[in-house]
């Protein structure tokens, strides 16, 4: 693990991995969307709108997964002072914010026909909105210092504190009586979803995960290149 904390090693590995992850993501999306839109049954209650699930649910999983990754990267930055962990956390924040925004928007589009309202203030929706605010707060804090090192440290601490919200979101549908339905997949017994719907859902989830890895690699490489340009310019001017 520590071997890849070297930026040069990372860039080498990332350049080799990126074409695979991005093309596999495209394949997953292609098949996932095809099965989701054309080759899966409409829900007996929800009708055709159930197809929003194939974007909404994976995006919601990713919003939590990305935050957990960001918190883990922040922790390893604070503990081992790896600058690559800091770059990873910085890059993850806008990606996670985008996933959360997709979750909220598709949720609203789904809620309107199903619940008759774009938005309700129930525990699940509110806690996801708070997650979105936490991402924005992280992004505001990380760029608010003249010394970028300080920004990284402060934002890393904030990411760890904000992690409190992740289990709250996960269990909000069990702890409170919410309009949002409880989990259908991660249950102790068999998933409460038919295989014809489960296949596109899992394909989309895999696609989202590969998309995350691809964007993360691109963003981290960009930041590394920016840092090198900055260092070279400093050398030139100094």
């Amino acid at each position: 693990m520590h071997k890849f904390a070297n930026p040069a090693q990372f860039t080498k590995l990332a350049t080799r991995v990126l074409p695979w992850t991005s093309s596999f993501a495209a394949v997953c999306f292609l098949f996932g969307l095809y099965f989701g839109i054309f080759d899966s049954p409409a829900d007996y209650q929800q009708g055709e709108t159930v197809r929003i699930m194939y974007v909404h649910v994976p995006a919601a999983w990713m919003s939590l997964f990305t935050y957990s990754l960001m918190a883990a990267a922040s922790a390893s930055f604070l503990i081992w002072k790896h600058s690559l962990a800091d770059i990873a956390a910085r890059s993850l924040a806008p990606i996670g914010a985008a996933f959360t925004a997709i979750t909220l928007i598709t949720g609203a589009l789904w809620g309107q026909p199903m619940w008759g309202t774009w938005w309700v203030w129930d525990a699940r929706l509110t806690s996801v909105l708070v997650l979105f605010f936490l991402y924005l707060g992280y992004m505001a804090l990380v760029n608010a210092f003249d010394d970028p090192e300080k920004g990284s440290k402060a934002a890393a601490v904030l990411a760890l504190i904000g992690f409190v919200n992740v289990p709250i979101i996960k269990f909000s549908v069990d702890w409170w009586n919410t309009l949002h339905q409880p989990a259908s997949l991660s249950r102790l017994d068999a998933p409460a979803i038919d295989i014809s719907m489960l296949t596109p859902l899992l394909l989309m989830a895999l696609g989202f995960k590969l998309l995350l890895i691809s964007i993360l690699i691109i963003k981290m490489r960009t930041i590394l290149i920016e840092k090198r340009i900055e260092a070279k310019q400093l050398l030139k001017s100094g």
């Binding site: 605010f133 505001a140 804090l141 608010a144 210092f145 300080k150 601490v157 504190i161 904000g162």
Partner: protein, 221 residues
């Protein structure tokens, strides 16, 4: 304990010497509350329904205004560095600073809130609940805000930034307080919400000084 009291005394003297700052926060609270009847209309029954929420939201915003100053002046003139160099545990120092912040902002707001509750036509049964939630909630805000104050230390726009990062985290205080106040107005049981507020206070009084001290050490070395 003697050192702790000396620290609290020093900070209180500092606040007393620039008493204007403490008054400004209290004024802001009163003015912000006053805006609501003017904005949503003076209908007494509607105000009664919203009174708890209005007072609590304004209390949160007033606390945000004053929080970024908790470490700022000591950071600017270097005395924070000196205090961190002493053998005195930084966690207790932080606790003292948060206590002074509460005593000079949260506590005055608590004292004046019944007056504003009257102006908002709050249900008579809710006054005691309002005071209990304030007594448990405002110290929690000062403690959690201490973490935020340490995080934004030395940043640009620290005042706005602290609201951005701390307000999402103190939403539970608002939810439980307003739930207790509206339950008491309807003659219902309030103990579960109050217990949760108490739990938040206990957890944050253990965890927050530690987190604040860790942040200060990370950011000022």
């Amino acid at each position: 304990m003697k050192k702790f009291l000396a620290l609290v005394q020093r900070d209180l003297i500092l606040v007393y010497r620039s008493a204007n700052d403490a008054w400004v926060v209290l004024f802001f609270f009163v003015i912000a509350v006053t805006l609501f009847p003017l904005g949503i209309g003076p209908d007494p029954s509607m105000l009664q329904q919203f009174s708890g929420g209005i007072i609590w939201i304004c209390a949160l915003l007033s606390a945000m205004l004053s929080l970024d100053a908790v470490f700022q002046s000591d950071f600017d003139d270097g005395s924070l560095d000196q205090m961190m160099l002493t053998s005195y545990p930084l966690e207790l120092l932080v606790l003292g600073k948060c206590f002074v912040h509460w005593l000079t902002t949260g506590f005055p707001i608590l004292l004046i809130s019944p007056v504003l509750a009257t102006m908002l036509n709050m249900n008579l049964d809710s006054y005691s609940t309002l005071l209990i939630t304030m007594l448990l909630g405002t110290p929690t805000i000062s403690l959690m805000g201490g973490v935020g104050a340490a995080l934004v230390l030395g940043s640009r726009l620290s005042g706005v930034l602290i609201s951005l990062i701390i307000l999402p985290l103190i939403i539970p205080i608002l939810i439980f307080s307003v739930a207790a106040i509206s339950a008491s107005g309807e003659g219902m049981e309030i103990s579960s919400a109050v217990k949760l507020l108490g739990a938040l206070l206990i957890i944050s009084s253990v965890f927050c000084p530690w987190a604040t001290a860790a942040t200060l050490r990370h950011l000022t070395n």
